[in-house]
């Protein structure tokens, strides 16, 4: 009796405070998280490995975006990319082909921004989106499910090579194959469709509209440094849009508090077209 009264008082206090505890979503106990001596998750614990000894990237990952003064990155590390501007770390900016300036001007009003239009967001935006992504590592493939805008990528790790550049089926996400270089997963992707098409929401690398085209060969080097930290070095090799390849760094941290992915059906109440005068 006494215990249930205490519980009722506690419940009343919780209900009075908002939000109510029962509404917390979706923190389930998460198995396999290494704990420190204080009982909290130890994000610097060693990298988890699969049964064949390779680093295991499986987990839900959040971007940990940060900026630094352009050109100030430590030696041996590429500049940090951000969701809004992947070239923000380059003192001289990105090595654009001349035609890109006009496209950036056109894109500066964000009317064609794929993020806002609920379209696939391009490889770097997906890496840097504030919504989580889940990496599912299987023996013959790695699947990345991005919570934002229905993103889903398959990276084939069964030894197959990239298809010929210019295959008749271009992809929003490109076609990806991965192989190991020590503890680094090297992923190559080609056969994007990109910016030089009649789909203005295609071919965006960031919120300001830095483009990619169907000439892009994307190289991503994934490194799970320890339990908590993922570093991805992304090289853009796209001679149609850029005069030379360049590389940026993406950093992510693993989710260790039991948070899970939540359904995000972007089109169910998309008001962007209406608010920008292109739909009634």
């Amino acid at each position: 009796m006494k215990r249930s009264f205490t519980f009722m008082v506690s419940a009343a206090i919780v209900a009075a405070l908002s939000p109510s505890l029962s509404a917390q979503w979706p923190l389930r106990p998460q198995p396999g998280v290494p704990k420190g001596t204080d009982g909290k998750p130890n994000l610097t614990a060693p990298t988890p490995r699969t049964s064949d000894g390779k680093p295991n990237f499986s987990g839900i990952w959040m971007r940990t975006e940060r900026t630094e003064a352009p050109g100030s990155q430590p030696a041996g590390r590429p500049p940090l990319a951000t969701f809004g501007n992947i070239g923000v770390g380059f003192k001289e900016g990105l090595p654009y082909q001349p035609w890109v300036a006009e496209l950036l001007k056109k894109r500066s009003n964000a009317f064609d921004n794929p993020d806002a239009l609920c379209l696939p967001q391009g490889p770097l935006e997906y890496h840097l989106d504030p919504q989580p992504r889940e990496i599912i590592q299987l023996p013959q493939k790695i699947v990345i499910v991005y919570e934002s805008n229905y993103g889903i990528r398959t990276i084939y790790t069964d030894g197959r090579t990239l298809p010929k550049q210019g295959e008749p089926q271009p992809y929003w996400h490109g076609y990806s194959v991965g192989r190991w270089d020590g503890d680094t997963l090297v992923v190559q992707t080609n056969n994007f469709r990109g910016a030089l098409t009649n789909q203005p929401g295609d071919g965006w690398l960031d919120g300001k509209g830095d483009p990619f085209t169907d000439a892009l060969t994307l190289t991503e080097r994934f490194r799970r440094v320890n339990f908590g930290k993922l570093e991805i070095d992304v090289t853009i090799d796209d001679p149609k849009a850029y005069t030379r390849p360049f590389t940026v760094r993406v950093e992510q941290e693993v989710v260790a508090d039991g948070s899970e992915m939540i359904e995000f059906i972007c089109h169910e109440n998309q008001q962007f077209l209406k608010l920008t005068g292109r739909a009634p």
Partner: protein, 133 residues
């Protein structure tokens, strides 16, 4: 003992809720940071949706006329992570909303703060509801 545990759990829950939530937007294309608005009125509809939840209220505008206004919040998925849900607001609740007006002149705005008029309680906090201009 049980009360203390509950309070600690709520505290941790609120701390964990402080994540940035959703990009999905091009704020400057839709809303004008130089056009603030503040209205008080009764909720007519609460759309618990992605990519944004929306609150609709009947409010008196500057001329004293009652009109229905829509205010854009963060994504439902983001609000959920901060502990809110589709019952957090219901028709008839009176709220004061501060926000920035839609560029197209419609009765819409992006919500920065939502406050329950009778208690002063801040709703949907912790969910990055206001987009940065």
């Amino acid at each position: 003992m049980k009360i203390k545990a509950v309070v600690v759990m709520v505290g941790i829950g609120l701390l964990l809720a402080a994540r940035p939530i959703v990009a999905h937007h091009a704020f400057a294309a839709e809303f004008d940071a130089n056009k603030p608005i503040k209205l008080t009125g009764a909720v007519t509809k609460f759309d618990w949706t992605n990519p944004h939840a929306w609150i609709y209220i009947d409010a008196k505008d500057d001329s004293g006329k009652v009109a229905n206004w829509g205010f854009e919040l963060a994504a439902a998925s983001g609000l959920m992570r901060s502990g809110w849900n589709r019952f957090s607001l219901k028709a008839g609740d009176v709220v004061t909303i501060e926000g920035t007006r839609a560029k197209n002149g419609s009765n819409n705005a992006n919500a920065q703060t939502v406050i329950v008029a009778s208690t002063g309680q801040k709703l949907f906090a912790g969910a990055n509801q206001g987009q940065t201009p």
